[in-house]
Structures are given as structure tokens and as C-alpha cells.
Amino acid sequence: MSAKQVFDLSIKASLDNLLKVRQYINQAGERLGVSESALADLRLAVDEAVTNVIIHGYGDLDGMVELHMEGQGNAVIIRIRDKAKTFDPSHVNAPQLDTALKDRPFGGMGIFLIKKMTDEAEFLPLPGGGNEIRLVKRGAIG
């Protein structure tokens, strides 16, 4: 039985590192054999999740974001951990898709996309502070 492949990335919480996050998802995804369409979904979900951590979690504060990606069967599991203040996405309104664009409020699209692009998206406070976002994409491998 081959060793389980896991991929980790640790970055400073800066929007300038979003490209590095997407490159990490691409490289880990290719090693895991993730299909191109699932990879596009995961790139988007993880980029949006990390963006939220940086903007809404850390704000102007310095901090780190830790990413972990692994395959389980045909699913991809990604964990994103931070030490930022607790972020509760249930307070974020979904975008109003049936409203005229000029009347549509900005925002809410990131969380909506994270949920749309994955099969499971959990936002968990960590004991001792910080948060974990756990994303699952089934049928992504093979």
C-alpha cells in the first residue's frame, strides 16, 4: 500500500500570497490526480476561503494561514487553519441572484462560492483560538 500523500503550505496572511495558494492547489491537485474541473472548483473555494481569513479574520493584523490537502479515496479534503478571530459565515447573506445588479449589495459571493464549489464546507472554531475551514470535494480524483 502506497504512503498517503499529504500537502501542506504555510503562508503569511497577505492578499499578495493568493497566487501562491492557487499554485499550491494546482500542484498538490495534479499530484493527487484531481480532475481539471474539480481542481478549478477547489482553486476557487480555497482562494475565497483564504481571502476571507485575511480580510475578515486578521484584518490589519499579521498572522499565518496553514493549508493541508490530502486525498481520501476519490475525495479531496482541505483544511485551512488560522489564529484569527472567530468568523461565523452564518451571518453572511447569500447574494441576491434575482435582484437587479445595480440594486444588489456587494459581498456575500465568497461564502456562496465556497459552498457551491465543494460538497462539504465547515467553519469550526479551534480550541485555544483560531478557526479551521474544512472543505470536502467528492469524486474529485480519478
Binding site: D16, L97, L101, K102, F106, M109
Partner: protein, 123 residues
């Protein structure tokens, strides 16, 4: 970090159309650059913009905030309801970007073309 490059061209169809081609990834770090470039061309007199996304490999929600802002910048009092913008249209998004456009419902607000000439003559 990702950077954006722009190319601005003018075409004459039924009206003067400004073609704004974007190349690069549009994320939370770069979307403001697009918004600022759009503001610049609108302040320079552009009233009808064809946003060429053929060189955009990645666009997240921040990119859609920029497009939302562009739509608002170009809108007038007659731009109401759920009708598509007569002033902003999209050209040639990649398959991945096209899927996000549909997921976020932006195809309800904006016409999307694959052919540049057809897009220009549609204004």
C-alpha cells in the same frame, strides 16, 4: 503576487465601443486594478465597454465585485430591472470563468460573446 495587464482599443459599431482586454488572474489582490482601469476609461469618455476576458485564467468573487462596480459606473436611470446591461458586455471567458459567471448569476445581467465582431455589433 498576481498582476493584471490591460489593452484598450476602440471599435466603431452602431456606437463607439471600448474594448478592454484583461490578462492575468483577477483575485482580491488585483481586482482594484481592474476597477481603477475601468474608471479611467469611463472618465476618458467610454460609454460602451466590451470586457475581453480571454486572457483571464482565474477570476474569483473580487473580480465580480469589480464587474459589478463597472456596471454601476456605466448605468443610467434607464438601467433598471433585470434587463441586461446595454453598456457592458463580456467577451470570451474561459470555461472555468464562464462557470463562475453562471454560478453567480451574472449571465442574467450581462451578455456574453465568443466572437469579437458579433459582440461589437451587438451594442
Amino acid at each position: 503576487m498576481a498582476t493584471l495587464n490591460f489593452m484598450v482599443g476602440q471599435e466603431q459599431g452602431n456606437v463607439a465601443v471600448t474594448v478592454l482586454r484583461v490578462e492575468g488572474d483577477i483575485d482580491a489582490a488585483t481586482h482594484k486594478t481592474l476597477q481603477d482601469k475601468a474608471a479611467e476609461v469611463i472618465e476618458g469618455g467610454a460609454t460602451h465597454i466590451l470586457l475581453d476576458l480571454g486572457g483571464v485564467n482565474y477570476m474569483g468573487s473580487a473580480g465580480f465585485r469589480a464587474i459589478h462596480a463597472m456596471t454601476n459606473m456605466l448605468a443610467d436611470e434607464e438601467s433598471s430591472g433585470l434587463s441586461k446591461s446595454p453598456y457592458l458586455k463580456l467577451l470570451n471567458p474561459t470555461e472555468a470563468v464562464g462557470r463562475v459567471i453562471k454560478t453567480l448569476g451574472f449571465d442574467v445581467y450581462l451578455d456574453i460573446y465568443q466572437d469579437r465582431n458579433e459582440a461589437i455589433s451587438s451594442f
